[in-house]
């Protein structure tokens, strides 16, 4: 069963993560620091044997740094990098995500929903802990991107769309609600170089996974009919560059292109 799944190119898709509320890496690094060599080896083995790398390695092959676009979803990085990986999560948060499909910052959706249901939710506590310890041990790459200025007209327009349409669930501070609505602040999905996931989720919506441990399969509504290309581009630029986030702006044309692609291959 696991072999069958591991041969599939599924994305370990973390729909959004949170950065700043987490007591940064102290807890996390101490946890990975204390993990035994045996645990790290077990974690590495589980990650490799379950095919995580098939989606989460870089297009060029770099280990678990993310960036591949598979089935219309961008796979986020799984390293300890704070902007594009899991650097803001403790090992416990990673284990929680794998076991229940969600944690304080994110909820599994897209291809990762199936992975949680069929693979990681069925793992033992020791197994998900080992994976978490291993992922925390992967060094992150230094991020060096300057955010789009708050005074940029796209940021101002996008902030207004955000307040009207998004803030009810994701909150004005971008922190979402624990175990229900993903945080956008500090999220590697939100700040991914390639915004494919963001475009899909805003245009079409997304349903997170419900598991025995956390049955609420909260969902993001589709905004494709409610917002035009410019509004979606603006709001995405905004969420990628407020609250300490930093990523390239999203152009109106990219939204139009994503609409077309999603029409053909939803």
């Amino acid at each position: 069963m696991r072999q069958a799944i591991s041969s599939c190119l599924f994305v370990l898709m973390c729909f959004a993560f949170e950065a700043v509320l987490v007591p940064p890496t102290s807890a996390a690094s101490s946890q990975s620091g204390t993990a035994s060599a045996q645990t790290l080896a077990q974690g590495k083995k589980l990650v490799m044997s379950n095919g995580c790398a098939g989606c989460h390695n870089a297009p060029g092959g770099a280990t678990l740094v993310g960036g591949r676009v598979i089935g219309g979803w961008t796979a986020p990085g799984l390293t300890n990098d704070k902007r594009t990986g899991l650097g803001n999560w403790s090992a416990g948060e990673i284990a929680d995500y794998l076991k229940t499909g969600r944690n304080s910052y994110a909820a599994a959706a897209g291809p990762m929903a199936g992975i949680v249901t069929n693979v990681t939710a069925k793992m033992s506590e020791a197994e998900v802990d080992a994976i978490a310890a291993y992922l925390k041990s992967l060094p992150g790459k230094a991020a060096n991107i300057r955010p789009v200025a708050a005074s940029n007209p796209a940021m101002i327009r996008g902030g207004a769309v955000y307040a009207d349409e998004c803030a009810a669930c994701h909150t004005l501070r971008g922190v979402g609600q624990a175990r229900l609505f993903p945080a956008l602040k500090g999220s590697p999905e939100v700040q991914a170089d390639n915004p494919t996931t963001l475009l899909r989720v805003v245009l079409q919506g997304a349903q997170s996974v419900g598991t025995e441990a956390a049955p609420t399969a909260s969902a993001m509504p589709a905004f494709g009919k409610l917002l035009n290309d410019q509004q979606i581009a603006d709001v995405l630029t905004y969420i990628r560059n407020d609250w300490g986030n930093a990523a390239a702006p999203v152009a109106k044309d990219a939204v139009a292109a994503a609409r077309k692609t999603l029409q053909k291959t939803p």
Partner: protein
């Protein structure tokens, strides 16, 4: 020709609050459960997304979530001497339809009834003497005490995550809560909601008059909460689209947001939607149900055999099913015999409009159950000596929304059209506040439900006939309590005020409340009730009835908390007694 399906342990009719709770608990006990729901499947994410679901025209005006008269309706008359006519547009009350039932469109007010509400007749007789009760008033004590229900109220509140402030924990009065409330074993699961301006002003005024305002116990959550089923709810955003709407924000407690995510993972549970149960089938003795018959969306008829039948429809739909299935003896008010349909009650609502000059109320910042209440004039919390009536009501300031079509209030002398109307609309929206009362309705010999002799539903069954009018007792109660509310309105500094006590006759046209109760009441013996204290039919012991139709009379509160408590109470008995030894749980 009906086709017969494989047997199941439990058939549940209607998948609202009670159906969902029963399905979760009984499937958890290892039974195979099939819920059969007349309406459509409804899910938070796909049916109520906040991107388009706050649509007043679709939901509040065109009543998208409600029962349509074409599905079924009731006929109505005020007096036994009249001929009842069908309600062709639901208006005074709005029965829900579809998965979640009334639990989808409710506002979320989750009160407990008073201790004296449960021993109403004996309490009032003892305190005032039997002469205080009108001769035709048929109120009776519940067959359960508040103490029996307390753990089950608590359980329902924890399921729903209710936000509130306790007024009485184990007999100790708590500041900030309702000092009249019956003793609770615990604080509310989540803190009280923050109050908008209108209810804050109301609360101040009530306090200045010596009353005891408290936050409405609310199903619109003050903070994120995970219930004992592991299901998570978010914080209410005060969007103002509770009443008549589904909540797309996962913040209003409903079967969808509280039970179904966990229930739908169960492999021994199945929900069949768009399937209308037309009859509960009985064996040749008439004392045992063999299952139910239903018609699916394509018009095909099916028989679902089941060991237990749980009747979980809207209050008067439960009574209708019992009557058309021949379970129990229909009530006849003339000979005063039979029980099914007896003690139908409603709620006697009234209101007061106040204009608060130079105040900006921003009524759109609101939630269905976010407000302040005063209980000083509810139930028997005040001395009724010499007042000429019994009963009362909870009086509240709950601005449920600021919707443009239906939620702008006008005074009687405001112009009804033209530029004067526009001017009033502009002024009133921000400065006129509507205060309201949920008044009790006690039961009477001539207020009842039976089958209509003329009109039929699409399946050929007679429609339910409702015979109901206001009685002197309720009208006096309404006048008295509304006057008290007007006093609070004056103390708020109203520059204009209009009071609307209830007046006879009962009219089915203006919306009043969907808190229809009775008709299948619970009691301590078969001569005064349809079901026993465990909500089990006296006549057919594998049929159980849940919801407000089992209330012997109606109290001055919203019913859902008590519906939840009685459901959990009966479930306990079913699990610990009935399943071990199926048969009557109370000897006749």
């Amino acid at each position: 020709m009906a086709r017969t399906l494989p047997r199941t342990d439990v058939a549940i009719i209607g998948l609202g609050w009670t159906g969902a709770i029963l399905a979760y608990e009984l499937s958890g006990a290892g039974l195979n459960v099939v819920a059969i729901e007349r309406g459509a499947w409804r899910d938070t994410a796909t049916d109520f997304p906040p991107s388009w679901a706050p649509d007043e025209l679709r939901y509040a005006i065109r009543l998208d979530l409600f029962q349509r008269p074409a599905q079924s309706t009731v006929t109505l008359r005020n007096k036994i001497s009249q001929t009842a006519l069908p309600v062709r547009q639901f208006s005074s009350f709005l029965p829900g339809d579809g998965v979640g039932g009334a639990g989808v469109h409710w506002n979320g007010m989750t009160y407990r009834f008073l201790e004296t509400d449960f021993r109403l007749r004996s309490h009032l007789t003892k305190r005032y003497g039997s002469h205080i009760l009108p001769e035709d008033m048929t109120i009776q004590d519940w067959p359960v005490d508040y103490k029996d229900l307390e753990p089950h109220y608590d359980r329902f509140e924890k399921l729903a995550g209710i936000s509130g402030k306790a007024g009485n924990i184990d007999g100790k009065i708590q500041p900030g809560g309702n000092p009249f409330e019956a003793p609770r074993s615990a604080e509310y699961p989540t803190p009280a909601n923050k109050q908008p301006l209108g209810s804050t002003l109301y609360s101040k005024a009530a306090k200045s008059l010596g009353y005891h305002p408290f936050p409405v116990p609310s199903g619109n959550l003050s903070q994120s909460y995970t219930n004992p089923l592991g299901v998570t709810l978010g914080q209410c955003t005060y969007c103002g689209f509770c009443e008549r709407f589904g909540c797309g924000n996962y913040s209003k407690a409903s079967p969808q947001t509280r039970v179904l995510p966990a229930l739908m993972l169960r492999k021994n549970f199945e929900a069949r939607t768009n399937c209308n149960v037309t009859r509960i089938n009985l064996d040749s003795t008439g004392k045992k149900a063999t299952g139910v018959t239903y018609v699916d969306k394509s018009g095909e008829t099916w028989v679902q055999p089941a060991d237990m039948v749980m009747v979980c429809a809207f209050a008067f739909n439960c009574v209708h099913l019992l009557l058309v299935s021949g379970i129990g003896k229909p009530y006849d008010p003339v000979s005063n015999t039979g029980t099914v349909g007896r003690n139908y009650a409603y709620q006697c609502t009234s209101g007061v409009l106040v204009k608060l000059k130079d105040t900006i109320l921003n009524p759109f910042i609101s939630g269905g159950a976010i407000g302040m209440s005063v209980d000083d004039f509810n139930g028997d919390n005040f001395d009724h000596s010499g007042l000429g009536f019994v009963g009362g009501g909870v009086i509240s300031a709950t601005q449920t929304g600021g919707r443009p079509i239906g939620q702008i209030s006008y005074f009687p002398d405001d112009p009804k059209w033209g530029s004067g109307w526009k001017k009033a609309t502009k002024e009133n929206y921000q400065s006129v506040y509507a205060l309201g009362i949920q008044g009790s309705v006690y039961s009477y010999r001539d207020a009842y439900l039976d089958l209509d002799p003329t009109y039929k539903d699409p399946y050929g069954s007679p429609l339910l006939r409702m015979t109901f009018d206001w009685h002197e007792n309720e009208l006096k109660m309404s006048a008295f309590v509304t006057k008290k509310l007007a006093g609070i309105g004056k103390a708020m500094g109203a520059s204009r005020l209009a009071a609307y006590p209830r007046t006879a006759p009962y009219s089915v046209v203006p919306y009043q409340t969907t808190h229809n109760t009775g008709g299948a009441v619970m009691g301590d013996n078969p001569s005064n009730s349809v079901v026993n204290r465990y909500l089990q039919s006296w006549d057919v012991s594998n049929v159980f009835v849940f919801g407000a139709s089992v209330f012997p009379q109606n109290a001055g509160y919203n019913p859902t908390g008590t519906v939840g408590a009685t459901t959990y109470w009966a479930l306990d008995a079913i699990k610990t007694k009935y399943l071990k030894n199926p048969g009557p749980m109370v000897p006749m």
